[in-house]
Amino acid sequence: MNRIKAVIKSVESSDSISLVELETAAGKMSAVVVETPDTADYLKTGREVYILFKETEVSIGKDLSGRISLRNRFDCTVLTVERGKILSRIVMDCKGERIVSIITTRSVESLELKEGDRVTALVKTNEVSLLEMDGNV
């Protein structure tokens, strides 16, 4: 599970779903959660939270161009590539935050991913969970 510290910048809600905009060291992020400030009291502007997302939900782009719906994109440098038979694990540094991605080894080959590559890590907004931090930070 990737875990990044963030501050809530804004919360926009419908009946039970909220779009939360967040600021992290790696850049701006957004999350869609099935909660509202009424059901989760930590959904407040200014609150510090953790952003969680699974390694298997992180896509990797190289030389990206064109438009794409994914709102969470980070410029990263590949630190390590660990290849398995089916899956591979890529550890990236994104402005000081460490993000891990697990993608198929085939994709690693077709992207020709290697250490030191400049890449974009992409996460769908609805794959991002928020975790309340302990105490009233």
């Binding site: 099935v34 930590y42 899956l87 969970s129």
Partner: protein, 288 residues
Amino acid sequence: MILKLEKRLKGSEGEFLLNVDMDIPEGSFVTIFGRSGAGKTTILRMIAGLEKPDRGFIKVGNSVYYDSSAGIDLPPQKRKVGFVFQDYALFPNMTVAENILFGMEKPDRGFLDYLLELTGLEKLADRKPDTLSGGQKQRVALARAVARKPEILLLDEPLSALDMETRKMLQEELQRIHRDMNLTTFLISHDFSEVFRLSDTVYVLDRGSIVKQGRPEDVFVQERLSGKVKFSGEIVDIKREDVVYIVSVLIGNRIIKVVADPAEAEDLSIGDRVVVASKAFNPFIIRV
């Protein structure tokens, strides 16, 4: 129902004070959770009138069971309480029906039939306890405990000696009896899934004091995720495969497999209690 109880108890680590103050809405299903020796059974015994608090007050509906300052102490038979223990404590020389009838204030065949049906014992009414399985015996004990039409049902680890399958069936029956008979039920249990499945409120007891209380999901899930799909379970296997780990988690009586990154699998070991969570967006729902 109001419960204020104080009593000095001797534990394995010396004396301690049991001191609880609970205000429980009638009709609740309450679990008391805690290590052995924390005072859980003593609370149930004091509600039943089998043990006396040093000081306290017990009121159920409009009737005061116990009030040390007014000198009120109703004897057990005057309290509308049913009790089920881990060992069935049935009369071996009586049939199932006789055991249940024994629990009644006045024999009531109609009510007996209702209880037999409620607990699925119709066909076993004329059998003696020693010809029954553990689950069947515990059903008889349960039927006998509610035969007095109590207001309060006290369950002291009633299912812990039973296998998983039987346990699950009895949990459903407990829930049905609790609802149908409009009971306020107290359960002592160490089984997380049982506590989650059955109780409205959990009180966590530690050396005589309530250290936590609330809905099971709030008491047992430390961190609050914004994910909505959450199950608690126990890790039964961790296996490395390729660059990831496959962690098998027992939830209820099913094992589900979760893919975990090595960084998180390192912190996990077999036997750990865990929460498996997913965002509300991910699960598929398929009609069966």
